[in-house]
Symmetry: C2
Subunit: 247 residues, 2 copies
């Protein structure tokens, strides 16, 4: 039951701080594969006993490991070896399934909502409509190898794209639905990134702790003629997803 003590005791008279020695020990175990990706680390109390130090000292080491992205700490649950993060490359032509497949993972999705509604301030401004104009709202959870990586709300002008609701209902895919509505191709015009803590059931849907922020990306997509066809607001769990921009 007790994990094997592979590292020797800490040296207290060598000029190297105790917490740095703990960082090195854990880094070594992760690198060696003793601790697999996603595996649960010992609790802080167990670490403290194993290294014969105070829990504060263990916490100082875990803080360093967490800051460097090697370890993920979750209140009430424990600490875990961090998974590789999924880079979301912002490109003119980014499609969800292509993004996921480019990382050698299997894309899947779940439609959460599909209906016609009235445009609120943000949506109206982005789509160039007046407040309250009719828009189709399509909400979808995107997964990579079964793990949630995006929660996105897509908005389309009913007037600009009649029949988009039916097309989305049939295909469940934005790209396919736009193609069915006479928009064979679309490009990202701008991406605005911000972050906030999850609200409502967002944390639950994305399978993330409630005290970790979401990356929120607002995308405006245009057709080849440059006219706006979609406003998408996608939320991604950190640090599972990062947004990368390379010109």
């Amino acid at each position: 039951m007790t994990p094997p003590d592979r590292t020797g005791p800490l040296s207290r008279d060598q000029g190297v701080t105790l917490w740095r020695q703990i960082v090195r020990a854990v880094e070594t175990e992760i690198a060696a594969g003793v601790l697999a990706v996603g595996a649960k680390l010992p609790t802080e109390a167990q670490f403290a006993a194993r290294f014969a130090v105070n829990r504060h000292t263990v916490r100082r080491a875990l803080e360093e490991l967490s800051r460097n992205g090697l370890v993920r700490v979750e209140q009430g649950r424990g600490s875990f070896v961090a998974e590789e993060s999924l880079d979301y490359e912002v490109m003119p032509r980014t499609r969800f399934s292509e993004w996921i497949r480019s990382h050698n993972k299997e894309p899947s999705g779940r439609v959460l909502e599909l209906r016609e509604t009235a445009a609120d301030g943000i949506v109206a401004a982005a789509l160039g409509l007046r407040l309250g104009a009719r828009v189709v709202r399509f909400e979808r959870l995107g997964l990579a190898d079964g793990l949630p990586v995006s929660l996105s709300s897509h908005h389309f002008s009913t007037q600009r794209l009649p029949g988009v609701l039916a097309a989305l209902d049939e295909t469940g895919s934005v790209t396919a639905a736009l193609a069915a509505c006479g928009v064979p191709d679309y490009l990202r015009q701008s991406t605005r990134v911000t972050a906030r803590l999850p609200q409502g059931n967002e944390a639950e849907l994305l399978q993330m702790p409630r005290n970790r922020p979401l990356l929120v990306a607002e995308n405006v997509n245009v057709d080849r003629a440059g006219s706006v066809v979609e406003f998408a607001l996608s939320r991604h769990p950190t640090p599972r997803v990062q947004i990368v921009f390379e010109p």
Copy 2:
């Protein structure tokens, strides 16, 4: 004293929820400028009286407005019309002072740290050095009209740029110091964005609440020949700053 009641009573039998009607009413007033940016909204109790609904219904509407960034709610103080956020446009050639001035604000800065140190894993990987190589670390707080908008750590290889420490000490500016070291121009090679809650004294320095996330941008900057000259890690307060990509 009592704010004018510009909107009619809510309709209770139209299939539109009461809280959505309140959202629309407040959005309209903000858009019309009846409520100025930064202005304090009526209290939840006042809203409840004005619309003749329960305070819970008002809260549901405020939650939606807050989520969409139009309103900022502060516990114990009230709700306010959200200030315009400062867009940080990611461009090949972005300089702090130019960014701030392009928004008609006055840039300033405060040097927090300047010293030579050993490269940790992240820095070494970004600069293409081995672990523990000598690097100069330059930490700076950036302000726009006196309000903090960035906390950035800049890293330079001592070997690649001898004299950069002295130049930074003299000028206090990355651009000027690089110019003094024979790098008259530099370009952004890649930007990686993530988010996390503030740690240590970050919240205090950036004058933001501790429960609001930071946007963290990692930039790799290269000279005109394409060789890496700087790794910068900048932290920005949300929602005061947003990051915008426009190709």
